[in-house]
């Protein structure tokens, strides 16, 4: 239900608009921790990344925070500490989660504690992944499509991650069953306004991860997409709504994952 981007796109096409990079003096804010934690139903999916905000004019490289204490706990209070495998990356390749179970994350960075919990939803799988030719504002574009069957009962939330030739695209694809509960659903992973060299072509290898996420994590991605990607025209940009307590940015998600690959015909 997000049409504002579409209008905006249309308006820009038809008016003599002009885009330029500007130099904007931005204030420097105190650093804030960023925690990105996941546990999935697959091995190797349990990973916690800890970093810090950077100033706008710094480079974009990930600068991990080392030396944190990171642990994951299941419903039966079985706690596992995740070792730091490289700076800021804490992972345990043996842990797998079970759909329906709630997991808790505890992080301690220099004496400051952060906590979160997330319930892994029921796993819903992709029935198919295929490519269609879609006419997007007059241009024919190759668009990946996903079909799946949403289970009865509202509250299912999904996120899709698109890879083209092994490179993750920075588009946020999220959907819930608010308006489509219990139906065979089909999702188009549109790529609006991409440069010509980023368009999908015949022979490209497309990969899609389907993640079933909890409502809080859906809200995180929804609010991130609406307010923090820097390229929207929302009235008031804001930090996404996090499910981590203690004042960190980021999220903790217990999610199921399924991957499909296809070559573009």
């Amino acid at each position: 239900m997000k049409f504002s981007a579409i209008y905006f796109f249309l308006v820009i096409i038809c008016l003599t608009s002009c885009e330029k990079v500007i130099d904007l003096p931005l204030d420097v804010a105190p650093k804030k921790y960023m925690i990105e934690g996941t546990i999935t139903d697959a091995k190797g999916g349990c990973r916690v990344l800890i970093s810090q905000t950077k100033n706008f004019d710094e480079d974009n490289s990930f600068k991990g925070i080392s030396g944190a204490e990171v642990s994951i706990k299941d419903e039966n209070n079985n706690s596992i500490t995740l070792p730091e495998v490289s700076p800021g990356i804490y992972t345990d390749s043996s842990i797998t989660g079970i759909p329906g179970k709630t997991y808790s994350l505890h992080v301690n960075i220099n004496g400051t504690g952060f906590d979160a919990s997330s319930k892994m939803p029921v796993k819903v799988i992709m029935d198919s992944l295929y490519i269609s030719d879609d006419n997007i504002f007059g241009q024919v574009r190759k668009t990946p499509n996903i079909n799946y069957t949403d289970p009865e009962g509202r509250g299912n939330n999904y996120r899709f991650v698109l890879y083209v030739n092994g490179i993750k695209r920075n588009n946020i694809y999220i959907v819930n069953d608010d308006y489509s509960d219990g139906n065979i659903s089909s999702i188009k992973l549109f790529l609006f306004g991409e440069d010509d060299d980023k368009k999908i072509k015949s022979g490209d290898k497309i990969g899609v991860d389907m993640l079933c996420i909890s409502p809080e994590v859906y809200k995180y991605w929804y609010s991130l997409n609406a307010g923090a990607t820097g390229n929207n025209n929302a009235a008031s940009p804001a930090n996404p709504v996090s499910n981590i307590s203690g004042g960190a940015l980021g999220y903790f998600s217990a999610q199921t994952v399924q991957t499909k690959l296809i070559e573009v015909p």
């Binding site: 820009i12 008016l15 706008f56 489509s180 009235a235 940015l249």
Partner: protein, 773 residues
Amino acid sequence: MIKAIYLAFILLGSAAVSYAQQKFTISGTIRSQRTGETLIGATIRSGDAGTFSNDYGFFSLTLEKGKYNIEASAIGMQAQNIPVTLDKNITLSIALKDEQKTLDNITIIASSKSRSLSSPQMGIERLTAKEIKNIPALLGERDVLKTVQLLPGIKSAGDGNSGFYVRGGAADQNLILLDEATVYNASHLLGFFSTFNSDAIKDITVYKGGMPAQYGGRLSSVLDIKMNDGNNQDYSVSGGIGLISAKLNVEGPIQKDKSSFLVTGRRTYADLFLKLAKDSSLRDNVLNFYDLNAKLNYSIGSKDRIFLSGYFGKDKLAAGETFGLDWGNATGTFRWNHIFSNKLFSNTSAIFSNYDYNINIRSGANQFDIFSQIRDWNLKQEFQWYLNNRNNIRFGFNTIYHIIRPGEVRPSTDKSSINEALLQKRYSWENAIYATNTWKATDKLHITYGLRLTLFSILGKGDFYTITPDGEVSDTLSYKKGQFVKTYVNPEPRLAASYQLNTVSSVKASYVRNVQNLHLISNSTTSSPTDKWVASTNIIKPEISDLFAVGYYRNFSDNKYELTIETYYKTMQHQIDYRDGANIYINSDAIETQLLFGKGRAYGIEWQFKKKTGKLTGWLSYTLSKTEKKINGISNNNWYNARQDRTHDIALVLSYQLNKKWTLSANWVFYTGNAVTFPAGKYKVDDQVVFYYTERNGYRMPDYHRLDIGATWLLKQKKRFSSELNFSLYNAYGRENAYTITFRESKDDPEKTEAVQLALFKFIPSISYNFKF
């Protein structure tokens, strides 16, 4: 209701002064001789005693027995002197001739000769279609709402946008009336054009403060637009062809002097731009709008007149087969004027108003339509009682039944992956009674005092909620059809006084309270047709504003120049904002779960210097102001700058009559950029750079300034046929004004982030041809 009116009578009557000498009343109607159109706000005076014609051209002036020379004058018309011997009540039917323009003797009165120094009314601006005509416009589309934005205290919602903010209020806090019907979405084409076709418009009155008691329902302003009635003397056809639209206006008598009709249409061909676009395959897209204004009026004898007017407008936008959106307003007004006596004028209006939008999605298995609507049934009764020379009373009532359909999703095929989802219809009943008196306490001191009492009832059928501080529904209460959920009762006092210091200057002060029960929920920066109107509920309280203002007014050089200074302080209660991560399109009736509430304050000072007559006319206005909000849950519950907070706002508007053929015009605007939220840093989520924010609206957009120039070339002016060419250049020096500033990974170096400014309009020339016969 009747009781209340009696009560109002008694209250107001107490201000009446006793009759000492024999007095008689001159009443009647003032019109244009050429078209038969009644004139609004025309001056009828004799020496110091005088009055203005009302919205229907009616006037009533009571004087002592004697001989008088009555002078009748109006903007753009030749003044007329009528000698009368007043030894009984008399009725005058005044017809003024159009102003003559001759080469060597140009007298142009660009606006009413003198802003009334004596009237307690403050914060009022009046424009006629004639005044708007010469102001250069974007793509040559003359636009009422964009002209209004050049007035002090009224700010544009953005480059080329027809939305506006008045004295710190939000865009939805303006009551926009077309022949008394509320227009819920006054913009076309995503805000770039207004729904008002200037060819069909007679008079525009803007109240940015001190609203008289007959108006209510919005916090910040009233924009009262009156359509032409239609020429009852002769048939006439006029029209115009511009860059983006063509217009045609047909009017004429049905029975000469008694009845007339008017039909005005406008249709854009913006689609053609898409067809001319570089990308040839864009032609499947649709982007257009049209409007139709129609009016009939009929005089039944000398005491009664009826009017039927309507507006219908529609926008269409489509991207091939996959996406379609149309939206539009429809209004209808039936009015009956009745002159009970030479002192008592009555108007009864039955009004219908509708706004809706429809979205069609046909994309793969996602096949569905979305529909939303707001509809009003409205009855207004007003009496104007010209009690005596010292007291002029207005009283009446207004009752409106609102039906809101917040959103209805319907699958368009059986195989659609979308389910039917119909949000509950919301019903409400808004009632108001009011009475106001303008009392000339002394020759120098005039006072208007009045009261408007609003009763807003929320009606079933429907579910209403209680909500936790975290925005979760904790309880649901179901109401039956027609059951009263809650009634909000709000008295709205209206007070204004003027004191005339001498013949050329006066001071005024006013206090006004306004209450708003319909709220627009919008989370985009530009106006969007899918913005949501919601009525007050048990949780969404009526918005209340209190506005205090004082002003100084001075005329110079025999009314050639005019200086106006007004300063104001406004407080606003129960203002609405969004929770972080709010989704206003959720499939839930409890929209309140997405909202936060707080308050606002605004203050400022406005200067306007105007030259009203001569070859060169125009004005310079400057506003210095501040607007802040304090919302529970935003910016740590501290005061922060509202988005529309702009410190400085300057407008210079000039029009120069070069000779009989050419009129040149220019306007220049400057304002401080809006308050905006920019990132304080960045971080990575799932390997993607996103931005970190620390404070709401802590930054400013760059300053905005722009010069527009225009010229009108009168090709022919004969009795039966006239035509002209209009040229304009919008943004003449090509300033790249920032429309948006966005942030992204650099295209050249993905390891860097950059700020990108988008500017929309740069050197937009246009030409249009207008004719009349």
